[in-house]
Structure formats: structure tokens, C-alpha cells
């Protein structure tokens, strides 16, 4: 699960109002190289919850030099876009779980795939 996907995932359990952001408890993380696409990164930035991204990256120990506040005029700032690219697309959680901030319910992650299947009562 890449951090881009994590930034979009929420708990959809019935009755939960604040199922975002899911807390990452990782036991295995992988960093791989991905082709840098500045246009894509630039277009994704407005869709991101910046604080959730920073919190997730920090929790995994991969925050490095990513700014904690979104800077203005990022479209032309290649240096900044590269930092975002790294955090969004190159850091992957392989094993662990995602925890709902409201209920504490855990969604396990296996081989990088989060299990979002609900129980009978939760649907």
C-alpha cells in the first residue's frame, strides 16, 4: 500500500463518523524507485490531506525533508515535487495494519494489500 492510497482510504464501518485518517501500524515497509511524473504529482497535491500525509510518513520514519506545511507555487518547484513523489509513490507498507481513529478497529495489511472487508454488523 503506497502512501498515496493510504491518504485516500477511510473506514466505512456503519456508524463511524470520523474514520479518517487511518493510523498506520507497520511491521514491514519497502522503499522502491518509481518513475518521476511531475504533472501527476502536481495534480494530486490539491487532492491530498497534507497533514495526514506528513503524519503517515513521519510514523513510518520516512518523513525526511518533506515540509510539514504545503508550500505555495509548488507546480514549478521540481525539488519539492520530487520530495512529494518519494513519499507518495516510493514508500510502501507491506505488512502491518490500519487503525480507525474513532473506533480502534484494525484493518490488517498483508503483502501490501489492506483488508477492508467488513463483518456482518459493520456493513
Amino acid at each position: 500500500m503506497k502512501l498515496l492510497t493510504h491518504n485516500m482510504l477511510t473506514s466505512h464501518v456503519k456508524g463511524v463518523t470520523k474514520g479518517y485518517p487511518l493510523l498506520i501500524k507497520a511491521t514491514e515497509v519497502k522503499v522502491s524507485e518509481e518513475e518521476f511524473n511531475p504533472n501527476f504529482v502536481s495534480r494530486m497535491i490539491p487532492k491530498l490531506e497534507w497533514s495526514a500525509l506528513v503524519q503517515a510518513a513521519d510514523g513510518l520514519g520516512h518523513l525526511q525533508d518533506l515540509p510539514t506545511e504545503l508550500i505555495a507555487d509548488y507546480e514549478a518547484n521540481e525539488d519539492f515535487l520530487r520530495k512529494v513523489h518519494r513519499v507518495l509513490l516510493e514508500v510502501e507498507v507491506l505488512e502491518g495494519c490500519l487503525q480507525c481513529p474513532e473506533s480502534g478497529r484494525e484493518f490488517p495489511i498483508t503483502r501490501g494489500v489492506p483488508n477492508m472487508l467488513l463483518n456482518e454488523e459493520e456493513a
Binding site: 492510497t5 485516500m8 477511510t10 504533472n39 487532492k47 494489500v113 472487508l117
Partner: protein, 281 residues
């Protein structure tokens, strides 16, 4: 197994059927080709901005065949599937997209406005069957469509390739989609060919647009509806008084026209068409 293969959703829940199919059938290159073609058509119907890498959702992504096409086109995607077995195959095939194990009938677990578009190849019909006593297909369809609607960016589309069982099922699906806020409708490619006919449910989130035209429908745009035309032809052959219906020039010309409507390649009609040949033929 053979008779229920045409409607795998009648055999068992999707996560079981996918395992059975995977181990019992050879995944032929033809099957892969068909999946790829349908994915290509679905992306075409998405009408994404040209030369732009988008963030897409693949519902019922399975082993990632459709996802591979999305990656080929330079898009980033997230795939959702209910079958661990199929997702494991996708992982082994090293697909580029991120995978999520989830049940579409429980809702899409994504924030509002996440995706630039959504495709789904041969997955929607699974929602129309109740695999558990507690399942209500209309409710699951609505849960799916309403959460999908919110997870799509404004102006995004969702394209579903499906094999509808009957018109009631199609009605149910489209009505729940409309209830969830979508506009759009069905696009049918090659409607006159049983073999090539494909259904695509094309939904628009937030904007209304003209429904794209189905492929192979141009020649059907005539003033007279084709059904009435055919009825006339049938009774004419019945009145032929013992002469073979298959040999006349009219029959040959009609047959060629029929094949053209099916989208096949047919030689042009010339003065030699259906001419009487010398007896040695």
C-alpha cells in the same frame, strides 16, 4: 460446471468461483485478449483528458488484466477485489496499481473526490446476486453506487462492462445508479451480433453529458426500424412455392447486408453478385 459457466455468479460467491475458474480453466490468450480489448474500450468511454496521467479506480480488478492496460496508458490506479486468490495472482504478476481487498457491496472506502475515473470489467453482475441471507442486492447496489459517486471527482465517469442476465437486472442496476446521483446510461457495441455484442454502463458524476455512441450502430440508423423490415422478408420466402429459399439473388444480397450490419468485412455488391454460375460449381 459447463452449463453454469455462462453465469458464474449463480454457482457460488465470487471469491469461491474465482478460485474454481482459475484452477479449472486454462487462462487462454484469447481470454486475455478479450479482457484487454474491453479495458481499452472502457478507458475510451471514460473520455479522460488527452495525454494526462490520471488516478483511476478499477472495481473487481481480479488478477490485474485491466489494470495492466491502465498502467500501459500511463495512469495510476487502485484496484478493489473481493477475492484474495485473484489479488495474490495480481501481486505475483507484479501489477503497478495498489490493491485493496474489499467487497464492492459494502461501499468504496475512499475519501470524496479521490478518483478521476472508474472502470470495471465483468464485475458488476456479482452485485445482483444475494450470496448471503442478509444480502439485499438493491441495497448493496445502492451502497456501492453512492459511495462510488462520492469517491469520484466532479465530472468524472464510471464505465462498467457487464453481461446483463435480463432486462430486469439492467433496470435494477441503472435505477440504483441514478438514485445514487449518477446520470448516463447503457452503451451497446455491435448490438446486432450475438458474438461481438458488449454492454457498457456509462455513468457521469456531477455533470450531464451526451451518451457515447455504441460501435457498429451506424448502419442501423435508417428510417424504417429493422424489425419491421425482417418480418416482411420472412413471409416473402414462405410464399416461394417450393423453390429453395437459400439460392435466390435476393437472399444472397440480404445475407450480405446482414453481415455488414454485424460489423463484418463483406465484399462489395457488383453485377456479378449471386449471378447464375455454370453447372460445374
Amino acid at each position: 460446471m459447463a452449463s453454469s459457466c455462462r453465469r458464474p455468479e449463480h454457482m457460488a460467491p465470487p471469491e469461491i468461483v474465482s478460485i474454481i475458474i482459475f484452477f479449472n480453466e486454462r487462462i487462454t490468450s484469447r481470454m486475455i485478449e478479450i479482457q484487454s480489448q474491453m479495458s481499452e474500450r472502457a478507458v475510451e468511454l471514460l473520455n479522460l483528458p488527452e495525454d494526462q496521467s490520471c488516478f483511476l479506480l478499477d472495481v473487481g480488478c481480479g488478477s490485474g488484466l485491466s489494470g495492466d492496460y491502465l498502467s500501459e496508458e500511463g495512469h495510476y490506479w487502485v484496484g478493489v477485489d473481493i477475492s484474495t486468490a485473484m489479488l495474490n495472482v495480481a501481486l505475483d504478476r507484479d501489477v503497478e496499481g495498489d490493491l485493496v481487498l474489499g467487497d464492492m457491496g459494502e461501499g468504496m472506502p475512499f475519501r470524496a473526490g479521490t478518483f478521476d475515473g472508474c472502470i470495471s470489467i465483468s464485475a458488476l453482475q456479482w452485485l445482483c446476486n444475494a450470496d448471503k441471507k442478509t444480502h439485499s442486492p438493491p441495497k448493496r447496489l445502492y451502497t456501492f453506487f453512492s459511495t462510488l459517486y462520492s469517491s469520484l471527482a466532479r465530472g468524472a465517469r464510471a464505465v462498467f462492462q457487464l453481461y446483463p442476465e435480463n432486462s430486469e437486472q439492467l433496470e435494477l442496476i441503472t435505477s440504483q445508479a441514478m438514485k445514487a446521483g449518477f446520470s448516463g446510461g447503457m452503451v451497446v457495441d455491435y448490438p446486432n451480433s450475438t458474438k461481438a455484442k458488449k454492454f457498457f454502463l456509462c455513468l457521469f458524476a456531477g455533470v450531464s453529458a451526451n451518451l457515447p455512441k455504441g460501435l457498429g450502430t451506424e448502419s442501423a440508423d435508417k428510417g424504417v426500424p429493422s424489425q419491421v423490415q425482417f418480418t416482411g422478408q420472412r413471409s416473402r420466402f414462405k410464399n416461394m412455392k417450393g423453390k429453395s429459399a437459400k439460392k435466390g439473388k435476393d437472399w444472397v444480397l440480404e445475407k450480405k447486408e446482414r453481415r455488414r450490419r454485424q460489423g463484418r468485412e463483406v465484399r462489395a455488391d457488383t453485377k456479378y453478385t449471386a449471378r447464375q454460375r455454370r453447372p460445374h460449381f
